[in-house]
Point group: C2
Chain length 326, copies 2
Amino acid sequence: MTGSVGERGEFALIASLTASLKSGDDVQQGIGDDCAVVRFGDKELLLTCDASLEDIHFKRDWGTPEEIGWKAAVSALSDIAAMGGRAVAVLVTLALPGDLPVAYAEGLYRGLSSAVESTGAAIVGGDTTASRSGIVIDLTVIGEVVGRAVLRSGARPGDVVAVTGAVGERGAGLHALLHDIEAPDLVRAYLHPTPRIDEGGWLQAQPSVHAMMDISDGLLPDARHIAKASGVGFNLLSAQLPNNVRLWSYWAEQGMESMPQRLCSGEEYELLVILAVEEAPALLQAFMAQFDVAIHPVGVCTEHSGDVLVDGEPPAAQGFEHFRAP
Amino acid sequence: MTGSVGERGEFALIASLTASLKSGDDVQQGIGDDCAVVRFGDKELLLTCDASLEDIHFKRDWGTPEEIGWKAAVSALSDIAAMGGRAVAVLVTLALPGDLPVAYAEGLYRGLSSAVESTGAAIVGGDTTASRSGIVIDLTVIGEVVGRAVLRSGARPGDVVAVTGAVGERGAGLHALLHDIEAPDLVRAYLHPTPRIDEGGWLQAQPSVHAMMDISDGLLPDARHIAKASGVGFNLLSAQLPNNVRLWSYWAEQGMESMPQRLCSGEEYELLVILAVEEAPALLQAFMAQFDVAIHPVGVCTEHSGDVLVDGEPPAAQGFEHFRAP
């Protein structure tokens, strides 16, 4: 294959790299979902990893080292939530520039371990090495399937699409950081995502939940992932998307349309949940009674394989993809 | 803690970062051995990760992308061998510069997957992202304890120290690469280490094997790790160290003493085995009959806690440590 990885784009590159991989007998779900699912004795493992690189995923002056560490850890832990599983153990790879203050490394590690310990998991190992330029954090989370692993592939036409939390705020927070705009609440939302482990576990136990993933690329691009895995389509209803005054006024002050931004707001680490329409009203109500977290129905599942529409139309907005210019 | 991570050094940094970590109920061995050991249902997990960074661990022109990938994978797989375990599943994190040719990324991945598949494990997931500068490869291996996990902490005074393979060649190969010296056989040995999974599994099944690890920092510094973990000392006998004509003549041609180089030759991925003296002769013979791999007795275990001597004297040579100048 010719060309550079930048020209190729993240998803096409992954497809070409992994095309000839052999699977194992115990591998129940390989590459292509939030976690791999691997049979191990009388239980099933959930396996996932997520890397955060300085000046790619974060800049050092965006927050405290604790905040940078917390967020990096949540990006990996969230994949366990997306399967409805339990986090068990974590490995941490840190590559650090030689001139980094030890106090910074300690703060980073405190943030990482706080996030890991908030889920009941333990850091059990890792690798610490020098980096020629910039901090690299790579977390692997080993989790356990509880009940069942909720995959991306279970959505059925007629299902309801729902999202937890104030989806859209993290993208605005990131925009504020990138453009040096004063918006402390949105920046705080961006730097302090919550791994929805308890919520994912509860949703897993509801048979009417057919598919689930966490929103890391953005609601719209991640809905495309589920659509592709399930062989269905979605129609997202823009009026149903979570909104609030600070989000609305932030984009208004920037003179920008809010809707495309909210559709492609990544690094949310909220759950995208596909559930049976009949049970949806009772389930969403029970969820909100159980957790101090909103859950919004934002669309419906259609038969149009792979298509994700917004208000019945193909959306102009695209999601974030690594290697490609935003 | 003040100062930079470079001043602090790898091992002191890891100690300070991980000092206040909480352990989990299922964690049987946390940070400090080749792998973590975690109970999971009716079995035990082995968990390890290892990062390889361009211009820290390798240079692109040292070998083909396949060779770079192979070696990066072996550095992680070897930790499973060191516990006497079986590799089950692997996660691969790749951070790649946008201008890297796709063909290079594909070669790298072929090397990684060949090494993984050579052990019977499967790549089941990972993360692929952009890098601002240089290739980052981080492998996590999920393995299974077979029989028992052979830890670093089981060495007893009177035991014999043995090493598999031609320990010393990889350090000479690395020296040749770093100084642009023509030594194709040694360079090949450096780029093509073997994960000693079968050998480790066989050694695990011998009750007279008391402790084991893989040689990544060098025979001398790694013997110190075992000495510390076991509360014993070692006396390494220089005349017993593996040697051969090409190794001897390489160092002679450089006008350098061979012994300190061979004592601190890292990235060997050979096994350092501590075993009961009574069973040693029969066991070493049986090992060589079973595998096409040498195993050399190179020293004895003493009561002098933490000390590693060479021919009864404290050695001048130090091992490789990240962050510190070599």
